[in-house]
Symmetry: C2
Subunit: 384 residues, 2 copies
């Protein structure tokens, strides 16, 4: 076993980071392919970056965001947030009083923890269900929450979506939609309407999910509601800061629905290509993955490495030879050693998948060559 | 009167923004002098911006922030926050329970509202005083708060600072220091020690105040406390995002104590230069200002403009002729029309003050020439 503890993981990560720095500095960012699926985007021109340094830059970007944000989300007004979770907190602080009820419907449990946590902070009672027939709105309910698409990309049925909004509005209860990835997944891939167009009073999306924007949240809805929520947002420091707002504007502008549809189709193509050579790759909602245990099963040469070690060596070979970034190479101590190849983010859109699968195969061949020699593997992982 | 309502203010502002865009695009950012005192910094190299687009960039900047952040603030560990207010919220969510007491000492009331607001959110009792003799720590106190320097730059006495920390620690109560501008003002201009070195358990500073960093907060303190607070920070989306973290690292690295001391001295120099020609400029903690009413008193030619109109025309002449940005030109509707010339931020550090005062005088001469002609003034304000 090579990676024995957190310290080893830190050293491994530092080696990966220095390889990445070298690639960026010597060959440019375009020689790097971040397929972790976890990278936000930060698109900005030199002239925009210059404006960012002035008092007025932020105001310009906020204005631009109103335009592109409303086009993307619907509603009358948008507000940029530090995170989707901060937007949920601000909404609940604004609309939900102590001892009232909040009911949440989503396509599949578990719910995102920020919703029950914010309810608990204000002392409200929180109920959730993923069974439509069991959903009801009790007396004394202050807010109805709908999740458009779950963390695992399970999407709500549009008819159920409409019915729940109707049920809430019959009782004059506002509806907040957590449309983190749904604002794109539902509309583009499943042809559903935007949450605000379905009658949601407030909808929030994550600007780094399935589009090339920064980590952050974008809330849209009725202007008067947005204005009340904005008060809490500013009081508690929950708003997105200017660099994020700039990157949101450009992230939305660069969002390409075809790319998203393609990434859903392209994962099948990549899976089929890899399946010709491997047996243990699996599909994810937006790409493919292989677990350390799955990787170990692919190997028929004798070695003394742990399953995780195999994944670490494999990911470092991919990084060093081809600039392909996967989580085992760069993950913090304790991160999963599963290799994910995510196709939903910027770096993957123009990748030739035949070429990618050949690079994965060739890196795997190199893995087979080096694993009998533990010292060689250590050198790859730690660079010493 | 030219500016009659909010719509006029919006048009005025749009004209100012397009002048600024022209200057940035045709002459470069270095031809613009943002003296509003409200602009944060966003310093980033192309290679850093490239890294920002990868999953690993943020981790690199967070590591770098530990190093420069601890050097700046003291303590064992730092955590970057979306705002100082969000750091205060997270600390109070972590340390303060319902029905306990929070006591706050500051050099001069009023306190920053984020502290009582966060206490009210968790249902704690909040007490504040700016009279040292009246400060006491009642039973059942969960947190002692000290403000290092107020919004108006009034600085706490260091002996009182130490005594309050001692009083709190005798009762095993943690101390949080709101050192928004104080972390630099107290240490650099008043030669006081860093809050953590004085025994504070937690200290928070604003990275855009008196240093060329982005809007955001930086919290330092005991590692175990920081770790507990970080849990709340991540749960409610209160952390600074990667672009801000990058700009914090560079803001701290580019913080120059001499510049800060100079700006405190330079405001006197600028005031004296302007005083030779004008009678109504006043000193601010970090620069000089003239109110619309003060400006009107300087004028001995006949005209039909309101005091605010005079300030708007003056600020647009300064912008158009010399690239000098002041708030009346770019402010949102309702913003004060007082012209502030702030010397504490990046654009002011290398300004020749004699040259600046001549530009202010020459713009004032142009103001005198145009104000008898209202159409000419409208053209300057609205560009039509």
């Amino acid at each position: 076993m090579i990676i024995k503890d957190s310290l080893d993981e830190v050293k491994k990560r530092e080696n990966a980071l220095s390889i990445i720095k070298d690639i960026v500095e010597n060959n440019g960012r375009e020689s790097l392919f971040d397929l972790t699926g976890l990278s936000g985007g930060f698109i900005a021109t030199p002239s925009e970056l210059s404006l960012l340094e002035t008092y007025v830059g932020p105001a310009i970007f906020e204005d631009a965001l109103q335009e592109v944000g409303i086009a993307h989300m619907g509603g009358e007004k948008v507000i940029p947030l530090n995170r989707t979770s901060s937007g949920i907190l601000a909404t609940i602080l604004t609309l939900v009083k102590k001892d009232t009820n909040v009911v949440h419907y989503l396509a599949q449990l578990p719910a995102h923890p920020s919703i029950p946590r914010s309810c608990s902070l204000v002392g409200a009672n929180y109920f959730e269900t993923d069974v439509f027939e069991e959903f009801s709105i009790p007396e004394n309910t202050s807010l109805v929450v709908i999740t458009g698409s779950t963390m695992d990309h399970k999407v709500i049925d549009e008819e159920e979506f409409k019915k729940i909004i109707e049920m809430a509005h019959e009782k004059d209860i506002p509806v907040m939609v957590d449309d983190a990835s749904g604002a794109r997944l539902r509309t583009v891939v499943f042809n559903q309407a935007r949450a605000c167009d379905l009658g949601a009073d407030i909808a929030i999306t994550s600007t780094d999910k399935l589009m090339p924007g920064p980590r952050g949240g974008l809330m849209a809805g009725q202007a008067d509601l947005i204005n009340s929520i904005k008060v809490k947002v500013n009081q508690f420091g929950l708003e997105a800061q200017p660099p994020a707002v700039l990157a949101m504007v450009n992230g939305i502008k660069n969002f390409n629905a075809d790319n998203l549809v393609n990434s859903f189709e392209r994962k099948d193509e990549l899976f089929n290509l890899l399946n010709q050579k491997f047996e243990n790759f699996q599909k994810t909602p937006t790409g493919v993955m292989i677990t350390p245990e799955g990787l170990a099963l692919e190997i028929n040469v004798s070695h003394n490495l742990s399953d995780n070690d195999l994944a670490f060596v494999f990911s470092l070979i991919l990084l060093k030879n081809y600039g392909i970034i996967t989580i085992p190479a760069v993950g913090m101590p304790g991160a999963s050693a599963t290799l994910r190849f995510d196709l939903s983010t910027q770096d993957a859109f123009n990748l030739n998948l035949k070429d990618l699968s050949l690079k994965i195969e060739s890196s795997f061949e190199e893995l087979l060559e080096v694993i009998p020699n533990e010292d060689e593997c250590k050198k790859i992982i730690f660079n010493f």
